[in-house]
Amino acid sequence: MTRLTSPILDAAAVRADFPNLAERVNGEPLVYLDSAATSQKPRVVLDAERDFLTHTNAAVHRGAHTLAAEATELFEDARTAVADFVGASAEQLVWTSGATAGINLAAYAIGNATLGRGGEAARRFALAPGDELVITESEHHANLIPWQELAARTGAVLRHIPVHDDGTLDLDAAASVIGERTRVVAFTHVSNVLGIVNPVADLVHLAQGVGALTMLDACQSAPHVPLDLPGLGVDLAVFSGHKMLGPYGIGALYGRSDVLEALPPFLTGGSMITTVTLDEAEYLPPPQRFEAGTQPVSQAVALAAALRYLDGVGMDAVHAHEQLLERRMRAGLRAIDGIRLIGDAPDGIERVALCAFDVDGVHAHDVGQFLDARGVAVRVGHHCAQPLHRRFGITASVRASAALYNTEADIDTFLDAVSGVRTFFGVGA
């Protein structure tokens, strides 16, 4: 594992830890700029999972035998490590299969409270017809549709905070959208299309002012900026392991203790109960109350390894390095004819290293194909943010997103390729 003390990391050394980055694509060295979709995984993560599976594999929490006890310890240590990474304590961290599952957990638990589940304690979450759920115009479908469905099931109304032309949130609008009837404010920390870090403190302040619950989608911030979820003051937050160097199939829901204590369960089944009769069940306290059935045990252990790796590199160094990449990428794109950046907020706005853009006269799909032929992997399409694309008058865009293992040379290869697109497709000059 690479450990550096310098604030700027040694990307070449980091790269060597990621076997996949040595691949060639279409005969060209892979330039992977699709980390916002899913990150590559360092060898220590692959090793952690394999070690677990070959030496300790056993079902956790339910065995007297040695393997089961060892597996349980590794699993619970992983919980502490992941909680630590976001500044939380282990009881505040619920394993989920990913961010999408975490947001659905919250939305369905509120729906269950509305149907009278969870007793007295859960009553504070129950929605009445006409109550309002607030999201932003820049949400990923994962932080939009679960709230649409919750609204449709309960008679609540879904409202949204618009974004300015430069991609920043319209805080004046937010102050009027969030009001008396607002019960939930769900918003992303960083949009997966705009790359802009949203003003969490302002939104939390507005939400708390009306007693609304806050849900933060930290998918695109957790891998890139040092996070302190309790410090941000949100009630709930989610992130996905596969976007932060970890495995697929695992993520987490963070919750303030009093909120988790009061929320009724969502998924039900084994390992989350105390007493079960054929007629009813009593539930364990959080986090177990929300973890029904066999958990992604080896993935938890591997995710912990991923976050230890990130901590080893240092999140400050990761952040500083990615800021360099961000500036280089954005400046380079601005300089290419026919490129329109989506939500190109003025310099000085905090961002992650992610740019979505439109190439005048060339469809995003064709741009992606052209870049792929040069070994450059980017994402094209609506990136699960159709409303935001519609807001900017397009149906699809090209998105390049970097991570700690990208180099300035990667950015240059990418920019060079982009500058050839319009010529190849015979548009422009």
């Binding site: 060339v362 469809h363 995003a364 799909h365 064709d366 194909q369 052209f370 032929a373 094209v380 399409g381 609506h382 159709q386 694309h389 149906t395 699809a396 190849f424 497709f425 015979g426």
Partner: protein, 145 residues
């Protein structure tokens, strides 16, 4: 495979000078179909008229999409014109079969005309849906006509 063999000159040409582009009046049309590709958000609306002999006439369409989908619809509009309905159905079946063949079946130039340039698409599984979009729309429209 090289990018140039995917994006042949004739494809780029059709994508810029789209035959049949601009939807004909609904009056006189036998059927219309709307199709979309959920992955990239591309859409097409295609309209067709069957003449007294049952032959395909006036294939017109509108929509936004990548150059492959636009070129493919354009080529189809040209190719299908005047074709007996049953023949058009067979054509669509053959086209689908070739595109799903992962490069093992080429599109015959005699049968497919300009559209035979789309053979290369079958090696790019992610793009097959783009090339199929207009053809699925015609298939659907014929089924409704």
């Amino acid at each position: 495979m090289s990018l140039e063999s995917l994006y042949q000159e004739i494809i780029l040409d059709h994508s810029k000078h789209r035959r049949g582009f601009g939807l004909a009046d609904v009056e006189g049309a036998s059927a219309t179909s709307h199709q979309r590709n959920p992955i990239c958000g591309d859409e097409i609306t295609l309209r067709v008229r069957l003449d007294d002999t049952g032959a395909v006439r006036d294939v017109t369409w509108e929509g936004a999409g990548c150059s492959i989908s636009q070129a493919s619809a354009s080529m189809l509009a040209e190719l299908a014109d005047g074709m007996p309905r049953a023949e058009a159905s067979v054509l669509i079946d053959h086209f689908r079969e070739a595109l799903r063949s992962r490069g093992t079946i080429a599109l015959d130039e005699d049968e497919f005309g300009d559209a035979s340039a789309l053979s290369g698409v079958s090696k790019y599984t992610a793009r097959v849906k783009c090339a199929m979009l207009g053809w699925v729309a015609l298939e659907d429209a014929l089924a409704r006509a």
